[in-house]
Symmetry: C2
Subunit: 119 residues, 2 copies
DNA sequence: CATTTATATCGTCATATAGCGATAAAGCAA
DNA sequence: TTGCTTTATCGCTATATGACGATATAAATG
């Protein structure tokens, strides 16, 4: 990171808090990670199942799972020879649902605007 | 971007939808942008006020504001010689509040764990 | 028109990270 | 032990992006 100039921010949120919050949102900012979370929403899956379902490489999936685990969004435990992954923070479902709903509203609004242009 | 291999994702969310959702979360994944949004939560501010409050350079603030505007999270309108910025999507407040609450819970949990170890 | 103010944009650098292949590590079977 | 399976990690390249300085645009003012 480049050196930060001193911030005189009149905020109730500290720099540390902002970094933490940003890192959580950053974990959700990649389509592949959202895809993995989406695969986990119906229930727990092994890494191998996620590799197959995501259509990406095993190394890539493993790395993305590590990001999600560090962000506290998923948990893992050994299950026989495999590693079982599961959503560990219910906030994941809420956040994604909120975002999906919001996008759907916007899309429908734009569709209406195209259907009835200029009101 | 490197060429994408064909995805055979068994998902109810399309690649396009995942990209859209990810881009929204990505807009929230930088501390500086969260700081700007935080400055806007009490009410609208001009770009100049945000530059002063954020402690960053004007060019940098302008670029981050553009990201937030493209993500539909803030709106702008000319107000005399200045440009007034305001939060355009109430989802911003909800998302940030949720994330803050969640982090606070986790921090308090860890603090308790340190206070009463292995308790 | 010239100037000042307020924003936006451009060029550049440094860093972060997605994706890939190869390999390592851990567990189980024979 | 060897071999197989599953997952994690390493090395690499290409790309994306944050931060900065300089410049360009736009509006108000003299």
């Amino acid at each position: 990171m480049p050196p930060k100039k001193a911030t005189s921010a009149p905020l109730h949120l500290s720099d540390t808090a902002l970094e933490l919050i940003a890192s959580r949102f950053r974990a959700l900012s990649e389509p592949m990670r959202l895809r993995l979370l989406s695969c986990l929403m119906p229930g727990a899956r092994t890494v191998g199942q996620l590799v197959e379902a995501s259509g990406s490489g095993q190394a890539n999936v493993s790395k993305h799972l590590a990001v999600l685990r560090e962000a506290g969004m998923i948990g893992t435990r050994k299950e026989g020879p495999s590693t079982l992954c599961f959503i560990a923070d219910p906030i994941v479902n809420e956040l994604c649902e909120m975002m999906c709903c919001r996008l759907r509203e916007e899309m429908e609004g734009k569709a209406r605007a195209l259907t009835f242009p200029a009101g």
